[in-house]
Symmetry: C2
Subunit: 165 residues, 2 copies
């Protein structure tokens, strides 16, 4: 059997959004990404529309035309193959354990190269911005995850401030 390449993070996340809502338009998926507090999920049309075309071509989603009168509306649903691909993506241990990409963590080892005051100001600003970061509103699970993440993040920043203070 032909093994399809594993889903990218963007593809997996798109399928997950569809799974949660049963059916979504490309626009709604795009907005879902755009609302995320991470700039990694930029939610650009030029990424999402071609991706949905790819996923449909791979047979992981099907589109249904729900246009009413003059307003276009094309919704995507998961196929059985899409459900299976989503599951594999969700429980992929190697991917889930990856340290990912963290702009603060990236900068920290190099902050010794700026004055102590500038480093402290950066940490203060990051702390304030993290506190102000809006939680996702559409989903209870997402909101809970975001809150527990924020709490851990703030504790880490507090510890870093001691080390750099």
């Amino acid at each position: 059997m032909l093994s399809t390449p594993p889903l990218t993070e963007l593809e997996g996340a798109a399928l997950a959004l569809i799974k949660r809502e049963t059916a979504l338009t490309a626009y709604e998926i795009k907005e879902g990404f755009r609302r995320s507090p991470s700039s990694y999920w930029s939610g650009s049309a030029g990424a999402v529309y071609p991706m949905m075309k790819r996923l449909e071509g791979a047979g992981l989603v099907v589109s249904l035309d729900e246009s009413n009168s003059r307003r276009p509306r094309k919704v995507f649903r998961l196929t059985n193959g899409g459900e299976a691909a989503l599951r594999s993506w969700l429980i992929d241990e190697e991917r889930a354990a990856d340290a990912g990409y963290d702009p603060l963590r990236t900068r920290l080892p190099f902050l010794v190269h700026v004055e102590r005051r500038a480093a402290r100001e950066l940490l203060d600003s990051v702390e304030a911005r993290t506190r102000e970061m809006p939680a996702p509103s559409e989903d209870r699970h997402a909101a809970l995850v975001h809150e527990s993440w924020r709490v851990m993040r703030l504790a880490w920043i507090a510890e870093l401030k001691c080390q750099f203070g």
Copy 2:
């Protein structure tokens, strides 16, 4: 004055590596990325060599030929402009406060769609892999940051396991 576009994360990190070691070859920079515990820093030649060419074209680094006998060796150093660009990148508050990209955090809100047992197994695996993750060896600061990050990460995972248990 002409405002150059802000550095990408890869460019900023490359300049930071050079700053730490004073002078590095493209190969050494590439290996620095490849050794990182995050797959985000893939360290592919096809990304690093053209990037160094770009940075040299922008006047942020200069290259010096240190080839001995038959072995080629081209080292890069920061220019004054490179030092300034690095500093701006390091203390960029908006970038540093970004939530970045975290494969575990991305998946968590959707784990309700798999059986409880599979979700628990995923968290166990992520915990074990995080524990085994090797700390960066080349730099004391990087090792310290990595250790404090790991501690926070493991505490978060423990909390998540309670929520999902």
